[in-house]
Symmetry: C2
Subunit: 569 residues, 2 copies
């Protein structure tokens, strides 16, 4: 491609509504252009990245034996009513009416439609298993679209759905997809991690998320460097300490702690470690009476774990100040278990403490020397905190570390949740009718573009992995209009690289070197060759990889093979 | 691909709502599956065809210098309000509201969005021309979706939009796109014709349609075998006859013509040729008084031409029986110009007649021996009929022929209709601001699939051109589970053909020969190789092209190169 025939459009500054680095860089590099909140045009430069991502996904899905189809963006409400999701899904599901007033939705996923296809098309165990996938436009009417393509409203997703005669066969295909996803993200050139995940609202049993590792990731991931263990922190078990509770040493003493509302303020005020305090978190109970959750002061509540406790309202809801005031007679910042008659849970790590500091249920007062069992009844012990770095790995093979990730893939064992509701059955080898087992497997195509940038950038711009760069190599001729020698060499090299099957762009815009380099560093083309009169006098061109600190001089007649040797494939 | 790993699903009978052959065959061959009226799932077999069509279009558009991008399916109403199309477009434009109550549309085309992009991105003549295209999901809420993918609601279209500094440059690109479209349809393996077209509601000046020739086509096309002339009959000029009107010979005579309401009935009753009668068509005038249009009895009114006449309401509307009764004092079937005080037009071919039969404006009565100028005033003469086979070509180079076609592409010179309304301007070489000239160029991707079938089928099913067949070659082993020799030969040939880059399917379903052949003939795979024990004894396999009457025996060791030689590329 020649730059003048393409559409190169860069910006010096990112628009003010771009909050994260990938969004800023995508806007500045001209990959996307905002049309409406959470709705983007994929500009020519960005679409090339998308097409390469799609190509790798399609290739690996086909290799894994999945079969591609395409389900419509506009789907009739009736199918969504069969599973109850038409009503349950809330405002994220964009509903619309056609000219005849019939109800439709824009697809956020396609469980209903694919199950409808399969229940009509597949009758016998002989036709199973099947894994059907599409790479299609999706729509989710996010309340607050943000982060560019990371949390957009219209986006592209690869969604696959598998159908099976047995749970064992589902598990086999689940492993096949796990392996396929690993191959996909490896080929995309991204550092990633597969972690055990909560199955959440979509339901089913087993589930793994695939995360692109990035400091800016929304999710915290716990993993053990010494074993296979990896899980979203939402799900990672925090084991009970091996230590036991010491006998009380101190007496329960009420102290005045004016202004000390947070654990940090309290610890600083009393000059004690936060780990010697108990944090009180109040959530709504399922019978109207709040539930008190006690954690070690330096630990964080895990909302997913807490949401599953008996007596706690699901999904988890933090109690309002008014409810708390009424139940405890004090405001948040001075709460505690002493005298509380409602349900109380204590985290495993908090349950082994003695002589702790807790709120006194009286504004600006805490107790020191508080002891479980002596000063308040032994609460039910549960795992309700987030795992932290240094915790023992739940598989007993080492210590956990924590990193941050961006979720780009998710695989689920749906089991019979949809097939049961929609009557998706087959006749088994024994002649009896059975409900199919189902799995589903999603990859956020457009989201990968953002995640790849969050993982790979510097102060000058994006640094694409070779496999998904909009162009793999850019040729930068110095003085395009001025020097015939430069033009001839550039044109010749352009043809040579194309003949080698390399995706090369020749920048024939006749820009100044500084502007030209800035553009391609911002856009993130991973390999650059500079063609200039000065080098040509010595018969050399300058190669520089996007991460290289310096350029390498390469003889003109060796440059094509040199560039090829630098490519990752 | 192996059939057991794919999704093969054929039907004996087409569903009752399938009216035309392509719709029936697409349903029976399992290419599409209805989800809702005019909304179809593209099943794996059909999606392969779509992807091949898209691939050829993309390849040729890129070669022509156009640049691909992707614009969202969900578009904000504001842009559509700028051009007035939000209100003007009627119920075909599907409007919806997001969770915040903001208005959006589902894109039926993308003139507004692409013009919005270009007015922001392009400032200087140096950045022009540009031709931007997408291959994207479109939605038109047809009042009566029918004919499968031919008139569906959700469909895939390639839409391109070009921007220029001058009308001359637009005309250059228009020719470039004309040539590109010709290459696209040639590569698709379809018999097609480009014809001059009416610009209709979309506006602009020059326009051509590309039609796939098929007897079942909705459009009549006029073309001259001896020259380049070709036009949609809507637009094809019917030249004035070279003969002049003879002097009246007969006297005006009123005759009783009971029950003779149509021209055919009248001609039969009077035993005269239809060409000796005048047909009266009454349409609404723009000032409330109906306009009488006179045509030779054997000619058809051309509504597009008539709709452009001075004094005729646009778009054309046929007058109601009540209006006609009031204006003429008689019912349709006996109408004529004698005594009519309103505006009258006569077609060029009717204007040269003398001694004709016309309605007498009295129910069940006609005049014979009527003469223009003598019995009623000379009406304005105009070209208001459809051209017919045998008419002289408007370019004076021979006689017209008529064929039928299915419109699959349309190119327009939009000029400044959208760029003016949306302020899409550039700074010219002279430093002055100017409005851009625009062209637009559409191809109905999913429609091509239907049109290709309408052109290529027989009583057994579809006959795909090689370039867009879901599979180019099918291998049919006889007795897959029974014969190891058959299996081995089939597997070996399968690998050989794959190594040659041929898109081959191996039918390993172990079906009976009859059912297997019927499936692949219905699906329309253009090349078939049968592997059977009987042939293997003679060391031969049977090749048969989908259009061949008989199979050809080919030695096993020559079959791969034999098959390759049969492929069109």
């Amino acid at each position: 491609m020649r730059a003048t025939q393409f559409f190169v459009s860069t910006l010096k500054d990112a628009p003010s509504d771009a909050e994260i680095v990938s969004h800023k860089l995508m806007m500045r590099a001209g990959l996307i252009k905002k049309l409406s909140a959470g709705i983007y045009n994929y500009m020519p430069m960005g679409l090339r990245v998308i097409r390469k991502i799609e190509g790798i996904i399609r290739d690996e899905m086909n290799r894994a034996g999945a079969v591609e189809l395409a389900m419509p963006v506009v789907q009739p409400a009736e199918l969504w009513q069969e599973t109850g999701r038409f009503d349950k899904m809330g405002d994220e599901l964009l509903r619309l009416k056609d000219r005849h007033g019939r109800d439709f939705v824009l697809q956020p996923t396609a469980e209903e439609v694919v199950t409808d296809i399969v229940r009509q098309e597949i009758r016998s165990y002989r036709q199973l298993p099947k894994n059907l996938y599409q790479i299609q436009t999706k729509f989710r009417d996010e309340r607050r679209p943000r982060f560019g393509v990371m949390r957009g409203r219209e986006f592209t997703m690869k969604d696959a759905y598998s159908f099976h005669t047995s749970f064992d066969d589902l598990k086999r295909e689940y492993q096949n997809m796990f392996d396929t996803y690993s191959r996909i993200f490896t080929r995309l050139g991204l550092e990633f991690r597969a972690v055990a995940a909560d199955t959440g609202a979509i339901g089913g049993t087993g589930s793994h998320e695939f995360h692109v590792i990035a400091e800016t990731g929304e999710d915290a991931l716990a993993y053990c460097p010494d074993s296979d263990f990896a899980a979203n922190v939402e799900l990672a078990e925090a084991l009970a300490p091996t230590t036991t509770r010491l006998a009380p040493q101190a007496a329960l003493t009420k102290v005045h702690t004016p202004g000390a509302k947070t654990i940090d303020e309290l610890a600083a005020f009393l000059k004690i470690p936060a780990a010697q305090t108990l944090k009180s978190v109040i959530v709504d109970g399922d019978e109207g009476i709040p539930v008190l959750l006690l954690l070690r002061g330096d630990h964080e509540l895990n909302e997913v774990k807490a949401g599953k406790l008996a007596g706690v309202l699901s999904p988890l809801r933090f109690s309002t100040p008014a409810t708390i005031e009424q139940a405890f007679g004090a405001a948040p910042g001075s709460l505690g278990p002493v005298g509380y008659k409602g349900r109380v849970y204590i985290d495993r790590s908090a349950a082994v403490l003695s002589d702790v500091v807790i709120g006194a249920n009286e504004n600006d007062y805490h107790f020191t020397g508080a002891n479980i069992g002596r000063d308040f009844p032994e609460p039910a012990v549960a795992d309700i905190r987030n795992a932290v770095a240094g915790d023992p790995s739940p598989d007993g093979k080492g210590k956990l570390e924590i990193c941050r990730g961006i979720e780009v893939g998710h695989i689920f064992q749906l089991r019979t949740r949809y097939s049961e509701a929609m009557g998706c059955k087959f006749i088994g080898e024994d002649g009896k009718e059975q409900v199919m087992e189902m799995g589903c497997y999603g990859v956020g195509v457009t989201r990968i573009m953002g995640a790849a940038i969050e993982q790979n950038f510097d102060e000058r711009g994006i640094i694409w992995p070779d496999s998904i760069a909009p162009f793999t190599v850019v040729l930068c001729p110095m003085g395009w209009s001025r020097s015939e020698a430069v033009r001839d060499t550039a044109n010749k090299l352009y043809s040579e690289l194309q003949a080698l099957g390399i995706d090369v762009l020749l920048d024939d815009r006749d820009e100044r070197p500084g502007a030209m380099f800035a553009d391609w560093e911002l856009i993130g083309v991973p390999h650059r060759v500079v063609i200039g009169d000065r080098g040509l006098k010595e018969n050399v061109l300058e190669y520089q990889g996007r991460r290289d600190a310096e350029a390498t001089k390469v003889p003109v007649n060796e440059i094509a093979s040199f560039v090829k040797s630098k490519l990752s494939n």
